[in-house]
Amino acid sequence: MDNNRKVVPLEFEQPLSLLSQQIDALERQLADNPHVELEADIVQLHEQYIQLKRSLYANLRPIDHLAIARHGQRPYTRDYFERWDPDWIEIHGDRHGADDQAMVGGLLCMGDINVVAVGTQKGRNLRDKQQCNFGMPQPEGYRKALRLFAHADKFGLPLVCLIDTPGAYPGMNAEEHNQAQAIAMNLRELARLSVPVLAVITGEGGSGGALAIGVSNRILMLEHSVYSVISPEGCASILWRSADKVATACQSMKMTARELLASGIIEEVVEEPLGGAHCDYDLAARKIKEAIVKHLNLLMKLSAAELKQQRFSKYRKIGCFTELPVC
């Protein structure tokens, strides 16, 4: 997708849309009837627009981040892979009978580092979306990823995982093909890899489906991405028994990038272009690449044993509980 397409505004951006309409109207007027004062007004309005956008984006609610993370124009895994390495080599299939389109994998050169990369893929148009199952891999997709983990391990290549998925798919086939086992196996094998593993949450980090390619030495999150144990809709319907409580669920689960950085679950928040990654694919891709290369360079200084140990200790420490005195 090119950088000049029209960006679809989100609900919370309504004040911006109104202002933008005003500017458009004045610009049309100016075209018909050149006028110095009008020109000055328009310049001022443009400034106001940027200021308003900045202040809107500085005060986002968790549910606004969710809306940006789910924006239909948000860059997806293939958009990043293409920008990072136009000659990347795609690897298909789980070698057992399927090539899940919701899980993309291949070989990329990032800067001057060769990596194995996998990522969940959402579709852009309806046909794409259906083929990618709206970014929800089947067990075959997790097994395709597992195969690529093993490849990275065998050849000592760093592994980069891009995560943007609502989660695993609650379908009959997925259960019959044992998606619980597929996810569990990925968790265990990611923990055992002797190469650097870097996970980047680029959109939605949905539950076990995200974790299945997310057990890593470092986790980076795009500024407006989210990561949670269950979808806010699922949380609202189970705990509040109400579809109206999605915003409350978003807030309660502390699922935004900044909150997760503060709680030590992730290592870095990658800033997005103003208005979200969908406003400038190239810039977003460049910023993520810089962050990935920076972290890989640090991780590549560690030995295989140190990498495994570092990853192991990172997860070993996660948890919040009290050890009561034994009486």
Partner: protein, 305 residues
């Protein structure tokens, strides 16, 4: 005692019996249990003596962690570990009630301090590390404490060269702890990776019901996966799937017997034979001495499947 006196006493006894209050609902329920499957009324004490399995239709009633330990462990051999861990409220979570209140309620309801008991015991004189989850505490959900206890037990098994047995029963992750509960899946799986690399045995027993984050982590990582008859096991819940695919699922979907046919579990073992099965698997796989495992097993990734 003369005959007259005897008759008088008998009449008195009968009158006393006649004025006896009928059983209250509670007393009645304590005395009798109706089988969920065949609807037979069973004497609660008989049912208990039969390991909570209906003698008529073999329906396996859900049992608590303590009862399970009594059934599996040799008498007086159970020794609890990490029983002093208590949940915090990291997010200050409040849905329709606060998380601390919900924890207190779960403790009151189950008589337990968390959704899993961990420790060591003997099974026919063989020492094992054992974790048993309890669905009656917060739906057996996995939060930080469950993850930590299972992880510590796996570490204990590794350092003491013990086989590990985990009896799962869970509705999934504990949402009230947010991302921390999701991360317990990674933590427990990593601990099991270490155990795996030590060449030690891990037996996972899946009981009614085992779902969500527990299934998608330690419960599915056993060298052996045993399911109890009739247990419902899966990742996504039945209702969620039906709502997603807009069709009704067959009755046997996600049952232990169906999973056996699908190749997801190794065996379905009735409760009366569980202890013996665990014992036989344990003695079949003696623990290797530390460092004596087969070379390169830590480097080898498993055949996918």
């Amino acid at each position: 005692m003369d005959l007259k006196e005897w008759f008088a006493n008998r009449r008195k006894g009968r009158e006393a019996a006649e004025v006896k209050q009928p059983l209250t609902t509670e007393e009645y329920c304590a005395l009798w249990t109706q089988c969920f499957q065949c609807r037979e009324l069973l004497y609660t004490s008989d049912l208990r003596a039969n390991l909570q399995v209906c003698p008529k239709c073999q329906y396996h009633f859900r049992i608590g962690a303590r009862q399970r330990i009594d059934q599996l462990a040799d008498q007086d051999s159970w020794s609890e570990l990490a029983g002093n861990l208590a949940s915090d409220d990291p997010l200050g979570f409040f849905d329709t009630d606060s998380y601390p209140n919900r924890l207190a309620e779960a403790a009151h309801k189950s008589g337990l301090s968390e959704a899993v008991l961990t420790g060591t015991c003997l099974v026919k004189q063989e020492k094992i590390a054992l974790a048993v989850m309890d669905f009656s505490y917060f739906g057996g959900s996995m939060g930080s404490v469950v993850g930590e206890k299972v992880t510590r037990l796996a570490e204990h098994a590794a350092s003491e060269r013990l086989p590990l047995v985990v009896v799962a029963s869970s509705g999934g992750a504990r949402m009230q702890e947010g991302i921390l509960s999701l991360m317990q899946m990674a933590k427990t799986s990593a601990a099991l990776a270490a155990l795996h690399d030590e060449g030690l045995l891990y037996i996972s027993v899946l009981t009614e019901p085992t779902f969500g984050g527990v299934t998608a982590s330690f419960a599915m990582l056993g060298d052996f996966i045993i399911a109890e008859p009739g247990a419902r096991i899966g990742f996504a819940g039945r209702r969620v799937i039906e709502q997603t695919i807009h069709q009704k699922l067959p009755n046997e979907f996600q049952t232990a017997e169906h999973l056996l046919k699908q190749g997801h579990v190794d065996m379905v073992v009735e409760r009366a034979k569980l202890k013996d099965t665990v014992y036989r698997l344990v003695v079949f796989h003696p623990a290797p001495h530390k460092g004596a495992r087969r070379p390169d097993s830590s480097k080898r990734l498993p055949v996918l499947g």
